[in-house]
């Protein structure tokens, strides 16, 4: 009796952000195409995936993506839940599953959360900040919505490479050949966009400075005391987990960062001359 059971094609895509490849498996070709477009420039090699997610799509219906997010850990397994998705991830097995409808926003949220969890373990973080590379060095521009992340990104000169206008990816620099005058952190490009709606370049560079953004009547750079820098940095770090140990790790990561990377307040008027002070 042929035809009772037919094989289901498993399609996959590896999304590599911050040098961390995550493979997603789906049986839906249209959804795969959507992901290929969404993460264009961040598609990596499936053989080297650090984490693998099976995606189970359900029919679209009413879901509230603004519903409370819960990220919890139990018995070595992370559970991620919001109105529009439900995901599990077991770090020891490097596998997980995502249940969502065929939309790009739910998986985007899952990826952000997973990256924050991985980065927290190694002293890095995702930051509400625009970032760009100029003269081989990366510069971060942190601030809440309206602080000027999109504006400073839009004003970037042609010799600057935009990494993101919204969510910066910060990792500790573990390269043996890291230059001595670098501050020990690297910024990577991300596909996480803000108002500019333009994906960052998938490149990286040592972080030279963090600027806390403020808009004002003149362009100026003022030093920020380490305590204040840590407070403002922590206010802009993306962190979702209800996990005591990870909260402590995130705190120490922020303190470590401000003790090594110069942090200043960048007040600017919205025109391109502000970039004369950067790089």
């Amino acid at each position: 009796m042929p035809g009772l059971i037919s094989p289901v094609d498993c399609l996959h895509l590896t999304i590599e952000i911050g040098g961390m490849p995550i493979r997603v498996n789906t049986t839906d070709a249209d959804f795969l195409g959507m992901l290929q477009n969404r993460y264009a420039g961040f598609v990596g090699s499936s053989e080297s995936a650090a984490i693998e997610f099976d995606i189970d799509l359900f029919a679209p219906g009413f879901v509230d993506p603004r519903a409370d997010l819960r990220v919890t850990q139990h018995a070595g397994k992370w559970s991620l839940e919001r109105g529009d998705f439900r995901a599990e991830w077991e770090p020891a097995r490097r596998t997980g599953a995502i249940r969502q409808s065929a939309n790009p926003y739910s998986i985007d949220a899952v990826l952000r959360i997973v990256h924050t969890l991985v980065l927290a373990q190694e002293g890095g973080f995702l930051l509400h900040a625009a970032s760009a590379i100029r003269n081989g060095k990366a510069f971060l521009f942190a601030g809440v919505s309206g602080a000027g992340k999109t504006t400073i990104s839009r004003l970037a000169p042609s010799d600057a490479t935009l990494l993101t206008d919204e969510i910066s990816y910060v990792r500790k620099d573990v390269r043996k050949d890291a230059r001595k005058h670098d501050h020990g952190y690297v910024a990577h490009g991300t596909p996480f966009t803000g108002e500019l709606a333009k994906l960052g370049e998938n490149v990286s560079a040592p972080i030279s400075a963090l600027y806390l953004l403020a808009q004002g009547p003149e362009n100026r750079i003022d030093p920020v005391a380490p305590g204040e820098a840590a407070r403002e940095l922590l206010a802009n770090v993306l962190f979702f987990a209800e996990d005591q140990e990870l909260v402590q790790r995130a705190f120490h990561a922020a303190c470590e960062f401000v003790s090594r990377v110069p942090v200043s307040r960048l007040t600017f008027v919205p025109d391109a001359r502000v970039w004369e002070m950067i790089g």
């Binding site: 005391a225 380490p226 305590g227 840590a230 407070r231 922590l234 962190f239 005591q244 140990e245 909260v247 402590q248 705190f251 120490h252 303190c255 470590e256 401000v258 003790s259």
Partner: protein
């Protein structure tokens, strides 16, 4: 009058940045900055040294204040820190693996 013992809560992370003691609650991620007196008390809170001894040895020489008045202020401060989950307060010595003076959570930068 019973003596008061204080110990750093194991559920907080602490770091001294450029002389400023910052503490984050692991429970609700609330961030605190301690003033100089609170920092002295927090750093000395090993669970074994009574608060009156901390006041006598660490606070009175620093501020040239009467021990009785300083102890009253320190008790008020210790209970405030306890209310925020930063310190544990007891009328008996507090035995905790995190109460050693060399608390690894209390890093220092710059």
């Amino acid at each position: 009058m019973s003596r008061l013992y204080i110990a750093r809560n194991a559920r907080v992370a602490a770091r001294k940045l450029d002389g400023e003691m910052m503490i984050m609650s692991g429970q609700d991620s609330t961030l605190f900055t301690l003033n100089k007196t609170a920092t002295i008390i927090w750093q000395a809170a090993d669970g074994a040294t009574p608060l009156d001894e901390i006041v006598e040895r660490r606070i009175c020489p620093e501020y040239e204040v009467e021990p009785a008045a300083a102890l009253q202020d320190a008790e008020t401060l210790a209970r405030e820190l306890a209310a925020h989950g930063i310190l544990d307060v007891s009328e008996n010595p507090i035995i905790s693996v995190n109460s050693s003076p060399a608390n690894p959570l209390a890093g220092e930068s710059r």
